[in-house]
Point group: D2
Chain length 408, copies 4
């Protein structure tokens, strides 16, 4: 079935060359009215220039949407994810994955507001981001038309794209003419680098791909010690100073950057089926993960912690694969959030040349009980003789099976 062309399209627009080409392509290919959405997710670039570029490309002022979503991003996406100590494939802190649902949600909201019938993103046809954007769109607006130019258009090479840009008076900065040696994604949680010079996983990533951190070797010879305060599973203060979610993560990023913390060189499994290699930098997130485990270690019950740990890999895969707005992610979130009620207190963390070390934790809600654990005779709720019965009954089924083996 051939679809009628879209009339009005909300484009996730960065202001860069690629999404500018997409913008123009939507206008020329579909003759569609384009609405741009540019979010400040903490990627480290000004967003206002995107307004001027959009205007230059003929977008009406009322069709240009620019929003600072940093607080919403950290509060409603990053922090809930960190409550689960989420890592994908043992290591990846999901910095790119967690930003996509928010962008998708904003595009859909704008589409409703301006009466657009389509949305468009600039993710390629080989990656995970196309999936994350589009699952987000569909989960929120099931009949929306989705345009994925990289899967549709006929440009066969970088040169063809540049030619198209030239033909349509899209400004091209000099360093974008040639192919960049790797591609970048960035937001307040992390930056990622992949492609080209990173494609051979046997070869060490060059220092220059790093965006957010100095090398451990270049970090100070003296450790930095900070204290992070938590309330109900989320960080709320650094060294006693109460900070908003985005301000707190920004501060941690700076601390991580300065101490060479949060670099990861990873070969991961994409949802679309192939392995790829990325270099990730998550300075603040790396500190936060260690600190969150630290505060949980004294405030979270064993049964709660082990259950969380067992469901975490699935929760991570859901986010990685783009299922943020799915019933099962929301069910897991309900489980996780339920566990965090008493996860409050303070954690002292030492930052030193790439290392993040928890060196102290305390909480008025601690389940740690020095009286119980002491080698000295404690005050009392533990009777060592109970251990005999505990072991005997835990052993019972093993003994029965061993007897079978002996008679077998």
């Amino acid at each position: 079935m051939t679809l009628a062309p879209p009339k009005k399209v909300v484009l996730a627009y960065s202001g860069g060359l690629d999404t500018s080409i997409i913008l123009k392509w939507l206008q020329t290919e579909y003759r569609a009215e384009v609405v741009t959405f540019t979010a400040d997710l903490g990627q480290g670039e000004e967003v206002e220039p995107a307004r001027r570029k959009a205007e230059l490309l003929g977008i009406k002022p009322e069709n240009i949407f620019i929003e600072d979503v940093r607080e919403e991003f950290v509060r409603d996406y990053v922090f809930p994810m960190f409550r689960a100590n989420t890592v994908y494939e043992g290591l990846y802190l999901l910095g790119t994955s967690i930003a996509r649902p928010l962008i998708a949600k904003k595009q859909i909201e704008i589409a409703r507001r301006v009466g657009a019938d389509a949305v468009c993103h600039g993710a390629t046809g080989k990656g995970n981001d196309q999936v994350r954007f589009e699952l987000g769109y569909y989960a929120l607006e099931p009949d929306i038309r989705v345009i994925a130019p990289w899967r549709e258009w006929e440009f066969g090479s970088r040169e063809a794209l540049i030619r198209f840009a030239e033909d349509h008076q899209i400004p091209i900065s000099k360093d974008k003419r040639g192919e960049s040696p790797f591609s970048i994604d960035a937001n307040l949680l992390h930056s990622s680098s992949e492609g080209k010079v990173l494609e051979d996983p046997a070869v060490e990533a060059p220092e220059y791909v790093h965006q957010r951190t100095i090398a451990p070797e270049d970090a100070p010879d003296k450790a930095t010690i900070i204290e992070i305060g938590f309330e109900a599973g989320d960080p709320v203060s650094i060294d006693g100073e109460i900070l908003s979610p985005a301000a707190l993560l920004t501060r941690l990023n700076q601390l991580g950057h300065d101490n060479g913390i949060g670099r990861l060189d990873l070969v991961e499994n994409r949802f679309v089926g192939m392995k790829s290699r990325g270099v990730y930098e998550t300075p603040g997130g790396t500190i936060l993960l260690a600190a969150h485990r630290g505060i949980e270690s004294i405030t979270l019950d064993r049964g709660a912690m082990h259950l969380k740990d067992e469901i975490m890999p699935r929760y991570a895969s859901l986010i990685y694969n783009g299922f943020w707005f799915s019933p099962e992610r929301e069910m897991l979130q309900a489980l996780i959030d339920k566990s965090q009620e008493h996860v409050s207190g303070k954690v002292r963390v030492k930052l030193y040349k790439g290392n993040t070390t928890v060196i102290g934790r305390e909480s008025p809600l601690a389940l740690y009980d020095q009286d119980l654990v002491t080698f000295e005779e404690g005050s009392g709720s533990y009777d060592q003789r109970d251990a005999a019965g505990f072991i005997k009954l835990n052993a019972l089924r093993l003994r029965i099976a061993a007897k079978r083996a002996q008679r077998g």
Copy 2:
């Protein structure tokens, strides 16, 4: 029901003061013939002195068993565990837990050989080790009599113990008279420190509790780069030199030690129900974990990896809780081992002041396919247009639910 006293007891004997007191107590309290078993697990102490001490305490030569079990320990316990990238509560590499089943097994084997009717260990009544020893005993010899002196005897204080030692001519080195400021366990995989000066989890662990590593601050300013070779999930070589399991782990321990790698300060949940704080040093294991994840990242299928990651926390808990010789641990091991067939190749790891960084991996069995992932047009088995259908069908159930929400 009151049991008849044991006649012949196989004691896990270190040669130290505490197990010497136990030895004597078994002789005096139960009038039992004592058989000592002393294992070289790589704890870093000579085991032969234990022979002389045992003889001194009246043990007949044929009742003294001393064995170097380092290769068996690493090959049959440590490496299988590392195939699963096992960590307990997100962080702990299970260095103590994994050694207990082997000791239990050896004691049972000796008990059968010498016709002993009981076994005995020196673990306290508050910890996990009593459980691990005893579950091991019972799983292998269901009707064995188990003696756990720390849960049975009446000594009310350290002084009373020392007095008993003096009364029975047990030699006491000067530094053992007073209470030690913390307690230690060690084997080829790790050393642990806990108790006393470490009991307040808010207070940083003092530098002097560390046994196996220098501080990152004291490590060289220049990184060390090594290449670890793997075959079917297990490490087999360092920098091209084929090494036996124990020799390889010993080498990694030295490398880790020298670079300040593998320290962990943790509050964990014991199986017996309370939280405790420990300082662990696992220099070689920490390097091995990173390297194993590195080789898996290019050789292991996504479905296999994610399944492994999901069952790992349970596998870790089984080991931590002492269920090594249980049907479910063996079932999980079968699953894990099945996955490791193609996990072969080389990983380059950079060691620098506490950091272990995988910087390169290669394998003739790699599933990583540069042609597939490249931003350049690849050779072929991936067609970007397939992604459209993939996303559409993954989105279908979300769209149906979204439509319900809209009409609801």
Copy 3:
């Protein structure tokens, strides 16, 4: 450490011979003031006679507590459990397990009200119920003193118990003098029979052990068809008649009883380590389980359903083992409850000689979409060509692995 005797004890009192003996034993052994709690859980016996018996045994009127807890039992325990389609070891509907936490909670509440320092139950030392009662007590009142007479007293035989009863003027009905051929537990959800004549699992359970159901062979030759209405995961009506939780379950029990539905003969694994054989009858619950799966089948998203199914066995074990009042059970409940928001509609069930068959389901919130599934050309959101891409990307990792196998 020897504890001071308890002063005031809240006893879970059925009014029967065994708990009457316990009552008297508490008075004579501990000289304790006894407070009785008798609950109407729908066990099918009058509870008021328990008042007279308690008075007869010298309990002060203000120390006698009798409460009809049927609605609370079904609403707050049974229905939440059925939201998860809970079965233990594939088959058991947990009728005994789910009642224990409620009794424990009531005892603790009474203990607080009357200032009692201890609680007491009549469960034996080999079963699960002791664990369930006591974990409930401790989770709600950590310092409560727990008395478990069957683990403490010295009566060596049934005869000794009867003698004690005679010595203390406890009335003994004739049929209780000898040993009963099996033991029973009952409440509004189920009845269970175990022990004695049931101990050999090779021998068929005799018809006379059944309490709640007629045999399928004795049920009518004509099927009964009913329609059960659900709201947010819980049943609310039968054949259009709105019923309270307890009234609804009572009605289902009658329907099940009459149609020979809900018998189970099971060998199960107790938490304390051995296998035991029980005969369970859960007439209404068996119908409810089938109907709940029926309404979920059209209203619950696939991701939600599969996640529920995967965590269910663990949820069931937690209830079976007595961990109702644990953080992890509450976390799982949060996950389950989150999924049930739209599980509303009607299910038609056919009851016939032991069979419960769902024959129809409908809901205004259905996710079932006839247009999508029809072999006819549907209206549209499914394009068959999407399946090609879906399959191709799902196959990609398998193909890459197959290529490795070919070159390997």
Copy 4:
């Protein structure tokens, strides 16, 4: 990229109208040489007529492959699946799903033998079977060309198909001219019916859709009791008679058929994203599932059983979704198979008007120990006083948390 047409295609050929049309379409559309593969999977139809039909449609004798795969099907697919007590979404015994990988494997083997470059199946574009076939093909032969006519051709209606058949002299039996009121799949494990008259899930399935069972109402008034023997998890005998896998399942099917056993009316979630309604009949499988749980109940350790139960839903989804030939299915199989070593013995099952009831089980390898469980004083390895310590330590963490709540 446009592919060159396939030269030689191995078609899964039933001999029926639909696959005959596909055969002809491959010849006319692609001018391909067609190789037919017809399997006797126990679908209950003769396979030899397929040879004559293929010859009639111009297939060379050496290109016609007919094979009786019933033993292989039951031994290598059905029985391994039943070792896990596998059900999809709580109820479905996966009768269709489990047959697809075998057919795919045979097609690939033939393709290799005859040098074919493509394979073809007759599954539609909306169902699961296309996925199962194609994932099987790709997992075994990654570069095979797959042809899925239902997704490719342009026939817009049943009439157009019939016209094509007439135009190409394909014989059409009278009852195939119109649309059939539902569609059927069948093999030795089950038959399924779906579509058309079954599309409204609110309406009871008509009696005439059932293929393999009589209605419970029509079954004998007297129960049939059988004894099934198991060895290492698989059934090997009925009433003492050793039977091959296929013969045993055939016998159970007859017993199930005669007693109205194994009907299921289900709304399920397809992998491709929509819900569908099917009526399944699995007479022998339903008996087998109950009997297998029965023998496990006395021979399988609790830890093993619970682990199996927890991973089962995922294992079921893998089979349902077509991932039989995936690393993770093989890993789970290794885990499952490891558990079945001692699952041997006899189970007595009562079959009566739709009910399958386990009434007795016995095994020389039983873990059930009457001495342990008896209310009488047993011989010994269980000491009731051990339960006190067991409960105390299991309660410890709950008590600590309760104390926090009290002070909080």
